[in-house]
Amino acid sequence: MSKDSQMRAAINQKLIEMGERDRLKELLRAKLVECGWKDQLKAHCKDVIREKGLEHITVEDLVAEITPKGRALVPDSVKKELLQRIKTFLAQHSTL
C-alpha cells in the first residue's frame, strides 16, 4: 500500500469513526432534496422505467442509467459547501 493510499485509508477511517461521514451524508441528502435534484432524477427514473418496462427493471439498469446523470446534476453550490466542510474536517484533524 503506497503512502498515499495509506493516508487516504486513514482519513476515511477517521471520518467514519468520528461520525462525520454520516453527518456529511445526511447533509448532502438534505441539500439534494432541497435543490430539487432528487425530483429531477426521479423523473428521469420514470422515463427509464417506462422505457425498459415496469416488470423487467433491475437494480443494475437503474444504477447504470441514474448514477452518471446524478453525478452531473449535482449543483455547484452544493458541491462547494460539502467540499468546504470536508476540508475543514481534514484541517482540524490533520495529524492522524
Binding site: 456529511l24 437494480v59 444504477v63 448514477t67 453525478r71 476540508k87 481534514l90 495529524t95
Partner: protein, 201 residues
C-alpha cells in the same frame, strides 16, 4: 513508517483538494445508489407510480367521513349487538362478553381456578359437601400450594381478591357465575391493594 506519523500538514493543497474531491465523489455516489434502491423497491412493491393515478380511481379511495363507519367505509361495531350461544351452559351471551364468559364457563382462563377455589371456600362455609369434588382438577393444576395449606390460605385470599382487575366490574356479579353478592361488602375499593395481605404473617 507508522500510520500516526502521517501528517496532513505535510501535504500540499492540491493533494488535499484531491482527497476532498474523492470523498465528495463517494458521498454523491452513495446518494445516487440510495435513490436507485429506493426507486427499485418502490417499483417492485408497486407504489412507484402511485401519484399518477387518474382522478376517477382516486375518488374510489378517498377518506370516508360518515358516522358509524371507519375511514375505509367498513362498519366497525357490527359485532357489538350480536349474541352467541355458549356451547357449555347454553346461555345466550353478548359477543363482546363471550370470550371472558367462556373462560369462566370452561374453567380454563387465568382466573378461573382462583374463582373456583374461592367458591370452594365459601361453599365450605355454608355447606360441607361443597363443590370441592369438581374443583379437584383445578387444585391439581395449582403447583404452588398443597391442598391442605390451600384451604387455610384461600380463606385469606378471599379477602384480597381486589388484586384481580375483574373484581371491579359489577355486572359480572349479575351474571351469577361469580361469587355471591355479599362479596361486594368485603371490598371498599376494588383496585385497592391490601398491603398487609401481600405479606402473610
Amino acid at each position: 513508517m507508522k500510520m500516526d506519523e502521517i501528517s496532513m500538514s505535510s501535504l500540499d493543497n492540491s493533494k488535499l483538494e484531491g482527497v476532498a474531491q474523492d470523498i465528495l465523489s463517494d458521498l454523491v455516489e452513495d446518494a445516487c445508489l440510495g435513490l436507485c434502491f429506493e426507486v427499485h423497491r418502490a417499483v417492485k412493491q408497486g407504489y412507484f407510480f402511485l401519484e399518477d393515478t387518474d382522478q376517477e380511481t382516486m375518488r374510489d379511495f378517498e377518506i370516508v367521513d360518515q358516522p358509524g363507519v371507519d375511514v375505509f367505509g367498513q362498519v366497525y361495531n357490527q359485532w357489538k349487538n350480536k349474541e352467541c350461544v355458549c356451547p357449555n351452559c347454553s346461555r345466550s351471551i353478548a359477543a363482546s362478553r363471550f370470550a371472558p364468559h367462556l373462560e369462566k364457563c370452561l374453567g380454563m382462563g387465568r382466573n378461573s381456578s382462583r374463582i373456583a377455589n374461592r367458591r370452594i371456600v365459601t361453599g365450605n362455609n355454608t355447606n360441607n359437601k361443597s363443590e370441592s369434588d369438581q374443583e379437584d382438577n383445578d387444585d391439581v393444576n395449582d403447583n404452588d400450594w398443597s391442598y391442605g395449606a390451600e384451604k387455610k390460605a384461600k380463606k385469606r385470599k378471599s379477602d384480597k381478591n381486589p388484586n384481580s382487575p375483574r373484581r371491579s366490574k359489577s355486572f359480572k356479579h349479575k351474571s351469577g357465575m361469580m361469587g355471591p353478592r355479599r362479596r361486594m361488602d368485603n371490598q371498599e375499593s376494588p383496585r385497592m391493594l391490601m398491603k398487609d395481605e401481600a405479606f402473610p404473617q
